[in-house]
């Protein structure tokens, strides 16, 4: 969605009992849809990495209210 060269991008689940999804990626200017998919997966990977880094940094910092929870 964030890729300006993508004309159409969508997915559907043909039947809920089967574990398949159909993804459709359509590009402008006759570009490679498969390459766009790989770029998107890489971007998603770096996104996860960034979130994990920010989360770990926040855990190490102060300002967390720690309390005792009886289970």
């Amino acid at each position: 969605m964030k890729n300006p060269k993508v004309e159409f991008c969508g997915y559907s689940v043909p039947h809920p009992s089967e574990n398949h999804i159909n993804i459709r990626i359509q590009m402008y200017d006759n570009l490679s849809a498969l390459q766009a998919l790989i770029t998107a997966l890489n971007d998603l990977d770096t996104l996860c990495e960034t979130i994990e880094g920010a989360y770990d940094a926040s855990l190490r910092s102060d300002g967390i209210e720690r309390w005792d929870e009886k289970s």
């Binding site: 890729n3 990977d45 289970s71």
Partner: protein, 368 residues
Amino acid sequence: MQSDIYNPRRHVGVHAEYISDVSNRDFPGHYPDEDNSWNLDLFRKKLHVKVNELSQRSIQFDLVGVDASIANAFRRILIAEVPTIAIEHVYVWNNTSVIQDEVLAHRIGLVPLNVDPSYFEFKPDAQDQATDRNTLVFKLDVTCTRKPKTAIVRGTKKAEPEPEEIYNHSIVTSGDLTWEPQGEQSEVFASKPPRPTNENIVLAKLRPGQEISMELHAIKGVGKEHAKWSPVATATYRLLPLVVLNPEKPVPPQYAEKFRKCFSPGVIDIDPVTKAVSVNEKNLRNESMNREVFRHKEFEGCVELKRVRDFFIFNVESEGTYAPEKLLPESIKVLRQKIATIRSAAERLLAEIEGEPAVQGDVEMADA
């Protein structure tokens, strides 16, 4: 507070009878002169993760700057795809209690275990080979007997005796599960023997003469397969609520107290002298959005209720297998594994396609 939560582009309008501006319009092409394409540095600047509360069992943190699909993905992975260990196979030698075998087996399966799943492999289903790398063996051997008359200490003379007073082992709890180390497990788990996280879960009730004797095998699984393998009690998020006062139509001072009562306690401050109403930024997240303001005609137009579309307040309660602060990193790890799988498959497909010079770097449509 967070950079610019008052930017109207980030708001979901909450009105008396409907919700407006739900979807995210942050993509290239929607705003004509702006480039909203994926930019890692911009994302890193806008991203803000802050842990607010942490206890032994639950964690509350803010995740700001991500799209709803990403936050929802983490929530779903936390519930369904982070692996845990739970009892799956129950071999009953003897069960003379009133609880049926299958009911007892179901209850035992739901008991959360205190084992780190990273030590174990998944056991391929329908395969008979149970090794010490993929199975944990527990035993449950309980017999109920009558206490000898001399050992009974009665509370009040007239009342009916409590079952615990006159019988041994009349209640079978999760604390009665004993671990049998197999193979290498005795060294690996020497410092932290596997036990149920909570010893007081009632599994069955017995009377004298009744006996339960069974062997339990625990394996690694995910919540998708059965809820007993879910590492969280609940994993939820909500969007940050916003109360925006209209500066052109302030709340009349005689209604200030009534206005304050329309919201959750602590959200609205009233200046003691001028009776001017203002919003307390720190308590804003406690607002429950019950839209009581919209019921009263005198406040019409004075206030707008909104939610911030990309500010997620996560509340995750752990069952005990993972410490709560480790849950989000585990779910991120699962997501990254899935991305890696798909990416290697896509790259392999690309290599196959590029091997044939006839096709111009694009995938051929399959004939349906």
